[in-house]
């Protein structure tokens, strides 16, 4: 193995690749510009639209209630709803989004409540429809508040303390630092994002430097050189790794910036507590270190697939399912209750995703981290060895 020749191959391949517009699109334009712009735009639009919908007065139909004037009058006095005349076709009107909700008040509702008899109002909604849900929540809140008020009045009438119905309070106190709270939430997204970006970043260069070379006829030219096949593979593999890591890092920073921008813009649009965004730099660095053997594993495996393929098209058809097989375990880290153990620490991709989540939330289980890192180093070495072995096989090199 010659470092000099690996360096020569590396520099040439990187230069060659960076002159290709498709590399720049897959490495820079997509992760750095398009994805964050879409993310910010979509996030901002959803926040603004959500706020706008909340400010709209929902259209509500009251069914019955002619003999419950107190309740209806209190509801109308709120001026939070636009009332529409009752219609027997109310279910279709809700389904067609002509009205947002309907309220069913049974006969003698007010009298039954006064007499302390059982009574129930029904709120008709379109489940899952945003405006309908908001309308239903407002109606629900109105009746809960009215019920609490009534209970308080009755306790007072009987000279009973308010504490009778609530003998004790329940409070929740967050003991985790903002860094940890933020890390726990971001830890579910960040490893997934980096893993997927590592892989997508490696797809194009791994194809271009292998199957692409076969297609363009430059593979035979390269094989005429006296450089050892292993050096050629390592030079190419390092280029794939560089582009993969560069894509992941650029994507990380651009998405982070987009998230901060979104938080600021959204903060102006709506009032209230938004996602805290405080990251521990050491945790972030540790996640990136954990990603390194995974990125080498991707580079080696994808280089091997590219080498085996007859053409860029064939390589693409192999690598797309590989991407799906990567996305699923990478996403699994966000599943509730799935925690890192020795078994899962050996499953490639999933192990790094879970370890990344733990590290981001400030948990450093060094025994698991060692198993994850060690196993990924082994898988990475195997993937690179496979690519190097394939590069020596005539059947593979001349499989056109």
């Amino acid at each position: 193995m010659s470092r000099r020749f690996i360096g020569i191959v590396y520099r040439k391949e990187l230069r060659d690749l960076l002159r290709d517009r498709r590399t720049l699109v897959s490495m820079i334009v997509m992760p750095v510009i398009v994805v964050p712009l879409l993310m910010t735009g979509f996030g901002l639009a959803s926040v603004k639209l959500g706020g706008k919908v909340r400010q709209e007065i929902p259209k509500v139909m009251v069914l019955g209630g002619e003999d419950s004037t107190n309740t209806v009058a209190a509801l109308r006095a709120l001026k939070s709803f636009a009332f529409v005349p009752p219609s027997p076709d109310f279910t279709n009107l809700i389904s067609d989004k002509k009205i947002n909700a309907a309220l069913g008040i049974p006969t003698n509702f007010d009298a039954a409540v006064q007499a302390g008899e059982p009574a129930a109002v029904t709120i008709y909604t379109y489940e899952g429809e945003f405006k309908s849900t908001i309308a239903a929540q407002s109606l629900d809140q109105f009746f809960r508040s009215r019920r609490d008020h009534l209970v308080a009045e009755r306790l007072a009438e009987r000279h009973l303390p308010q504490k009778l119905l609530a003998p004790f309070d329940i409070r929740q106190a967050n003991v985790a630092s903002p860094k940890k709270v933020s890390g726990n939430m971001i830890g579910m997204i960040l490893p997934y994002l980096v893993i997927v970006m590592c892989m997508t970043g490696a797809i194009y260069p791994s194809i271009d430097l292998t199957a692409g070379e076969k297609e363009r006829g430059t593979m035979e030219t390269l094989l005429c050189s006296p450089v050892a096949r292993a050096d050629l593979v390592l030079g190419k593999g390092l280029v794939v790794l560089t582009v993969s890591l560069a894509t992941a890092c650029l994507s990380l920073f651009s998405n982070g910036a987009a998230l901060l921008m979104l938080k600021r813009l959204a903060g102006n649009a709506v009032k209230g507590n938004l996602l805290p965004l405080t990251l521990d730099p050491s945790s972030l660095l540790a996640v990136l270190v954990m990603m390194l053997p995974l990125a080498i594993f991707f580079s080696g495996a994808m280089l091997a697939v590219g080498l085996y393929s007859r053409s860029a098209k064939e390589a693409n058809s192999y690598l797309q399912p590989m991407l799906i097989c990567t996305v699923i375990p990478a996403l699994a880290a966000a599943l509730p209750g799935l925690d890192l153990n020795y078994g899962l620490a050996l499953v490639p991709v999933l192990n790094v995703s879970l370890a990344g989540r733990e590290i981001m939330s400030g948990l450093f289980h060094w025994n698991y981290i060692a198993v994850v890192f060690g196993s990924m180093c082994l898988y990475a070495a195997l993937a690179v060895a496979l690519a190097a072995a394939l590069f020596k096989r005539e059947y593979v090199l001349f499989r056109t």
């Binding site: 020569i8 230069r15 060659d16 430059t218 030219t221 005429c224 050189s225 050892a228 001349f398």
Partner: protein, 245 residues
């Protein structure tokens, strides 16, 4: 010098079974001489030359190129040859200069040796006009010149050409033929394959007719004319092919 000894290459195909692309081929090419491999499509010319260039490994037999064994010393063989074929394309996104520099470096040339050699080569091949042009923007003739410069940058003792004029116009093909003669004049060992009879007649000192992976006849043009009683190389080739069982 090139010496092939019972060189054999067998490919195994799922549908066609065992294919003997090169079958027991033996020959010797001497320095300062041009050895021509003449054969039709699928005769085994490219496979034979790829074996000599160590791009493929022989199934059996052996060959020595510039004093090195193709099986045991492939890297030394590749360092001693310049291999040009229809399959050896150029990196389109590199300029002519960058490409030749790259291969010079891959052959272990230091920058001090590489620069003057590259300048001399570009001047000799009249390539300075397009030295900084991207290879994918060059004409076929220009590309062939870049390929020639690539094969010569490390000044190899042995030149292997697999159909070097394929797809070139008359002027570019003449330039390539002149370059091959220059290699002979410089004392290099040259092996050359084609199915173009006129090129064989004009260039080669020794001609070997390859058919179905085997050398069916070998000798100078005069010797072949005498043996087969024909003046035209095409007639000789057809007779050889027809006589093959």
């Amino acid at each position: 010098m090139i010496e092939a000894r019972q060189l054999t290459k067998i490919f195994r195909d799922k549908k066609r079974g065992e294919i003997r692309a090169v079958d027991n081929v033996s020959f010797r090419c001497l320095p300062g001489r041009i050895f021509g491999l003449l054969g039709g499509n699928g005769a085994g010319k490219t496979t034979c030359l790829r074996l000599l260039a160590t791009i493929l490994q022989p199934s059996s037999g052996a060959a020595t190129v510039a004093g090195y064994e193709v099986v045991t010393q492939p890297e030394k063989v590749r360092a001693s040859i310049g291999f040009l074929s229809t399959g050896t394309a150029l990196y389109g996104r590199l300029t002519a200069r960058e490409l030749v520099e790259y291969f010079g470096r891959l052959h272990g040339l230091s920058e001090e040796v590489l620069r003057p050699r590259l300048d001399a080569l570009f001047a000799a091949l009249d390539m300075n006009e397009f030295r900084d042009g991207r290879c994918d923007k060059l004409s076929s003739g220009m590309k062939q010149k870049v390929s020639i410069a690539r094969t010569l940058i490390h000044d190899p003792a042995v030149m292997i050409f697999d159909e070097p004029t394929h797809g070139l116009d008359v002027l570019a093909a003449r330039a390539v033929a002149r370059f091959i003669r220059d290699c002979r004049a410089q004392g290099k060992t040259v092996i050359f394959s084609t199915h173009v009879m006129s090129e064989m007649e004009k260039l080669c000192d020794t001609i070997a007719i390859l058919h179905r992976g085997r050398i069916m006849a070998e000798g100078s043009l005069g010797q072949l004319r005498e043996r087969f009683g024909c003046q035209d190389l095409e007639d000789i080739f057809v007779r050889v092919v027809e006589e093959t069982p």
